[in-house]
């Protein structure tokens, strides 16, 4: 009987580490959490599908800014479900705190993962005009279950009172840091990181060059908004959503080769022994490019002397060379001469020496990335990055070796909120 489900949700050792019955503490010690809209708790106002879809988005919003992942579980025994959601009116779902009817209290959450919504309120799906946004309330209550208390700051999703939803509300910087204060930031390896540059014309007809930054991991990617210090709302998305025709399970590397003068402008994706050229204008890979090359194309054909597969590659506009990384070696490739530069391959440690003894990625680099935001090259490996000493650094400190590697830092200290979501949430 429904009443029993609450008693069955008495603290189970191991199911959920409840550190004291109060907010402000990390509530879960595992990272993949199961949720369910309980059968006896459907709302009478929205279709069941809508209810589940809205909750799926709410959980995904938390997953985009925490190391936690959420998966809807409609099969396991209820006591194995970490977060249980349900609607009720008045005395409801065996809960001790009855609801007060239309107005005032619209929902509450309990430490052990129960979230109740007062079905006397007029809940609405996002962006459907008046009423109380079920999405916004669900994000708030899930915040409680994850351990957040009420936060009295304008703009916080954890304010106790409901503010009519401005269209497309999102979690702001401080709420993100509050939850990361409990669960930490997000870290992980990347297949590739790159800035995608494109020429556009403003409405006044003047030509401008714009870029966007992308992080790719396995079959999904994030657009990183450097000016906002976070990923784009709603990311990650599956690769095939934004990059048509590249391998859907991920790539080894991507590089954008362009020169304002030499009007070189080509985006290449590498995977295994093959590579693709991307057609920016038509937003998909070329099958045949303007030079008549068919794709996918063997790397050995397009870049003679470069072994495959490669670990990563970046393009240095200063010397118009592409630097391919494989194992502990680096290969400088002249774009103009279309051949390997003399004296290469060389050891990565020789071309990019460590400034601090021993603080060097060694080899098997995950990603090499020239950032237009930071005007610097970064080498990524695992959850760390090393910044390459640039021209300006050496003007200030001439003793630093050319292309020296500064001491490592954690990726999450410089690029924020690049968080996975559960694969089942990718479609949400």
């Amino acid at each position: 009987k429904p009443h029993n489900h609450l008693t069955s949700s008495a603290p189970k050792i191991g199911r959920r580490e409840v550190r004291g019955q109060e907010w402000g503490h990390m509530a879960f010690s595992k990272t993949v959490l199961k949720w369910r809209l309980i059968g006896e708790g459907y709302s009478s106002q929205l279709t069941i599908e809508d209810q589940r879809q809205i909750f799926g988005v709410a959980f995904r919003m938390w997953s985009e800014v925490t190391p936690l992942e959420f998966v809807e579980d409609t099969r396991s025994p209820l006591e194995d479900v970490d977060i249980r959601l349900g609607f009720g009116t008045g005395r409801h779902l065996g809960c001790n705190q009855k609801f007060d009817g239309t107005g005032r209290e619209f929902a509450h959450a309990w430490f052990l993962g129960d979230i109740h919504f007062d079905d006397d309120e007029h809940f609405t799906a996002p962006n459907t005009g008046s009423g109380i946004s079920l999405l916004k309330v669900a994000v708030h209550e899930i915040g409680h279950v994850l351990g957040l208390p009420h936060i009295y700051r304008t703009g916080s999703i954890m304010q106790p009172s409901y503010l009519p939803q401005e269209s497309g509300f999102e979690m702001d910087w401080t709420d993100r840091k509050a939850i990361q204060h409990l669960y930490g930031g997000c870290s992980g390896r990347f297949n590739t990181v790159f800035d995608w540059i494109r020429k556009e014309r403003t409405q006044h007809g003047e030509a401008v060059v714009r870029f966007n930054t992308y992080f790719m991991r396995d079959g999904w990617y994030w657009l990183y908004e450097n000016r906002n210090n976070r990923t784009r709302y709603g990311d990650p998305v599956a690769l095939q959503v934004g990059w048509h025709g590249i391998p859907t399970d991920g790539v080894d590397a991507c590089v954008h080769v362009w020169n304002r003068k030499a009007d070189t402008d080509a985006v290449y994706f590498f995977k295994g022994t093959q590579y693709w050229r991307y057609d920016n204008d038509n937003d998909r890979v070329f099958t045949v490019d303007p030079e008549g090359h068919h794709y996918p194309r063997p790397i050995s054909e397009g870049f003679p002397g470069i072994p495959s597969p490669i670990d990563t590659v970046f393009y240095d506009r200063r010397d118009s060379h592409m630097y391919f990384f494989r194992g502990t070696n680096v290969y400088a490739f002249s774009v103009a001469a279309n051949r390997l530069s003399r004296g290469f391959p060389r050891k990565i440690t020789a071309v990019f020496p460590a400034l601090t003894s021993g603080d060097h990625p060694g080899g098997n680099i995950d990603a090499a990335y020239f950032s237009y935001t930071h005007n610097a090259v970064f080498l990524f490996k695992d959850t760390r990055f090393w910044r390459v000493v640039g021209g300006r650094d050496r003007q200030r400190r001439p003793f630093q070796p050319r292309n020296g590697l500064m001491p490592h830092r954690e990726v999450e200290e410089q690029w924020f909120d690049i968080c996975n979501v559960h694969p089942s949430a990718l479609k949400v």
């Binding site: 008045g90 005395r91 430490f111 106790p160 009172s161 409901y162 990361q180 210090n229």
Partner: protein, 161 residues
């Protein structure tokens, strides 16, 4: 298209028979302040497990008046804590320092002018739709708002053109 069976669609109309009691006077303000922990921090974890006698799931919606009639009839099945907490509220006089202090704290947290008076702005704030989780709970030092531990300023961008 919402699924309806009655021609006048009354079966999908949200029945507004259950209107929440609004905070209209100082007594109801006291109940509000007590419920959300401004009088005494609420042990929210305990509330979840406090056994309410009887089988609350099967009874119909007990409106406030029904509940009050219970209390007035001295129905023993109403749990001690419930009457206790109401008793606690009733024990505060409207001008007691405890009431004024709780009111001021609510006004401060809500970003209202901290007058200590039950004025219209405070009444309106108390009637705004809100989450049922108390604002102040035992064991939670709201003074150290988790925000304090987090530098809210975004890191300096060393962006260059």
């Amino acid at each position: 298209e919402k699924l309806f069976h009655s021609r006048d669609r009354s079966d999908v109309k949200i029945s507004y028979s259950h209107q929440a009691e609004l905070v209209t006077d100082k007594n109801s303000a006291e109940i509000f302040l007590s419920r959300y922990g401004f009088v005494h921090p609420v042990n929210w974890g305990e509330v979840q497990f406090k056994e309410t006698p009887g089988d609350p799931y099967n009874e119909d919606f007990a409106g406030e008046e029904d509940l009050l009639s219970w209390i007035q009839e001295g129905d023993s099945s109403v749990s001690r804590a419930e009457t206790d907490s109401d008793a606690k509220v009733v024990s505060m006089t409207t001008e007691s320092p405890a009431f004024i202090s709780a009111l001021r704290e609510f006004q401060e947290m809500s970003g209202l002018p901290v007058t200590g008076l039950f004025d219209d702005a405070t009444k309106a704030a108390m009637n705004t739709p809100r989450c049922g989780v108390p604002d102040k709970e035992t064991g939670m030092d709201t003074a150290d708002d988790p925000q304090d531990n987090v530098s809210s300023s975004a890191p300096e961008m060393d962006a260059t053109d």
